[in-house]
Symmetry: C2
Subunit: 397 residues, 2 copies
């Protein structure tokens, strides 16, 4: 399965309407591209051009946005009642003033309206503009960010199925990444080849209706500059040099199934790893085991991170543990909850998190595996399944 059935959008909108009823809202005003995709199936490239979806309590769904997205939204979403468009930003009349006029036309200028991010638009690529609170002084804008987040954080069976499908193609992309890795190649050389071949195979398998929602191509695997000593920077982006014999690599792989993208990360070893590398790799595996053992419904997110910290101290690598143990994910690459000592969210069935404690040894590299894990009624389900043991991750040279 790779498409979101109509009933799933109906479920989400029904839940939103219950929030509107509870909070006494006449309408909801959404500007987050991800929230818009969540409720309507429409995804777009966010630019300086303000764009919003207005959902009225009677079920109407309005598009407010630039002319260049009009046909695109109608093509992608069957739910749009009507489109209101301006030519472009900034325009002779500022788009936000038009948004205010359109809300007036919809008799919402003295209504109570829930918003997700801001009652206006977010600063982005040179956007500037007034807030709707200034332009519509009789309307009342209230944040429903927490209510929307509470919906998104518990994944439905459909969403979990999409993430499972994503994990399958992430696994293919990662397998090709390992096959193609060789000393002398640049990391993006391997990455682009693996992403290319995995994407084409995935498309041929999923058939003529499949397309990625948020990404330009279906499947990705790569290193993002996490090569050898640069892998000691957890968020490396690029590296000057090619892959060499002896390098420890940190990978990442995913695939876009209706915008849901599982996270799969592994170490790869270029040639037979020396004992020091094997030692750190086995320690990183133990830390991930500590997290997985602590993870179950009813447990606090913070307790999972505490279990990892305890293990890291016992194993003598606490100084190398440069970040917390994982994060939620779904339509965004990082979402709450965070497996972090500061997040006391109680883990509940349907939550999806990455489990990825990492240790970073200066000059040597990064040691991290990330798996995508669903919290179930009776425990956890790890949906990424690429091999984890040192032997399986060696690239022969």
């Amino acid at each position: 399965m790779h498409e979101i059935p109509t009933r799933e959008f109906e479920r989400r909108l029904n839940e939103l309407h219950r929030v509107m009823e509870r909070r006494g809202l006449s309408a909801v005003y959404l500007v987050s591209a991800v929230n818009i995709a969540y409720f309507t199936g429409f995804y777009y490239l966010q630019t300086e051009r303000p764009l919003a979806i207005v959902i009225r309590s009677n079920g109407d769904v309005f598009f407010f946005g630039p002319l260049l997205e009009r046909d695109h939204v109608l093509y992608q979403s069957r739910l749009i009642t009507r489109t209101y468009v301006y030519r472009d930003y900034p325009g002779e009349t500022h788009p936000m003033k038009l948004f205010a006029e359109w809300l007036k036309e919809l008799h919402l200028d003295s209504a109570v309206i829930g918003y997700d991010v801001a009652p206006g638009y977010v600063g982005y690529w040179g956007y500037k503009g007034p807030s709707l609170t200034e332009l519509l002084p009789n309307a009342k804008f209230v944040s429903i960010a927490d209510e929307i987040y509470a919906m998104r954080v518990i994944k439905s069976d459909v969403e979990i199925e999409l993430l499972r499908e994503s994990a399958k193609w992430a696994n293919l992309a990662h397998s090709l990444l390992q096959d193609y890795t060789a000393p002398g190649l640049y990391d993006y050389e391997v990455s682009l080849r693996a992403s290319l071949d995995a994407s084409v195979i995935m498309k041929k398998a999923l058939g003529p209706n499949y397309r990625p929602l948020r990404s330009e191509y279906p499947a990705y695997a790569g290193f993002r500059g996490q090569v050898g000593e640069h892998g000691a920077f957890p968020h490396s982006i690029s590296v000057e040099r090619p892959i060499r014999v002896g390098d420890v690599l940190v990978t990442g792989a995913t695939a876009d199934i209706s915008g849901y993208m599982a996270e799969l990360e592994r170490n790869l070893f270029v040639g037979e790893p020396p004992s020091e590398v094997i030692k750190y790799h086995k320690i990183a595996l133990k830390l991930q085991e500590a997290a997985l053992n602590a993870l179950r419904p009813g447990v606090k997110a913070s307790d999972v991170d505490r279990a990892v910290i305890k293990a890291a101290k016992e194993l003598g690598v606490y100084d190398y543990l440069l970040h917390h143990s994982g994060h939620g994910l779904g339509l965004e690459a990082h979402e709450a909850p965070f497996l972090d000592v500061g997040d006391d969210t109680v883990l509940r069935p349907g939550m999806v998190v990455t489990v990825e404690p990492g240790i970073y040894v200066p000059k040597l590299g990064g040691f991290r595996h990330s798996d995508t894990v669903v919290i179930r009624d009776d425990g956890i389900e790890v949906i990424t399944y690429y091999p984890r043991d040192t032997e399986s991750l060696i690239v022969e040279v």
Copy 2:
């Protein structure tokens, strides 16, 4: 040239210090990843973890951020006086409270501080937190967004040289894209092959010190789903079907030179185009000519767009003109000024804009070329140079 010399960073910081003097600021607090790159050379993956650079009037540059970026910032920027780090977000003490404490330690808790985006952090991937205005009631935070933008909008000779270098490799990537385009292939199949080969060649040419700053790989060319009838959506992202004989394609190509990325976009025609397609292509070229003819120092950005609108009306395609005529660019893909009827910015030497009026014919496709243009003392310099005529853009089948 592909690196930013130290004197360029000195120039930028000196100009910032003059702003600080003029506005009576003891320090500047930056959170935009692009502004941080502009002043320090450090670029990072923005996440839910708050990160800021604090520049004091005495010249000190402080890093406030997550532990996982500590070694990364020290590796990338020689300018950092000292790093202040927290373990991770949200943490047992919220990072923003630590930022407030660190500002206190730096004797800035009752100072006047200029900020670029927000006196705190921006909502991103589940971030929530207080503003520094609440945490440091005796400090005064004033926006210097406009002053920073005014600096960034006029490109130095160094920046223009970097964009010129970028245009060269964008041209290579685009040439390969055209070479590899063929019916039966998926658009990303062609895109990833062209990006791969152009990236490897570019790296081999620029040598061992070169690496991209903001991108995972050096050069990119692709279609982003702008294939045939889907090209009629100016911001298409993906498409379900392969490229076919008769398709009009819209391309995009760029390359990362220290974070500066020129914009090059063209039509490609799969097989001999029918007369209707040739007609629209020639009209699109005329609209671009109208913009280029109107573009010179001293002219308003809005007047360029008006010249295009006038030409579109004369040529009978105004209904197909779905967006304005171009936008600034630099370290961001879109920046002010906008070549838009609503932007009365007077164009000055050193500004860099794309020139890209586009017409979009439902069911047929998009017709758009984008070139990167520098405003000079005595006119304009078009720094992208891929052929524009119909004949050169035909992919033989």
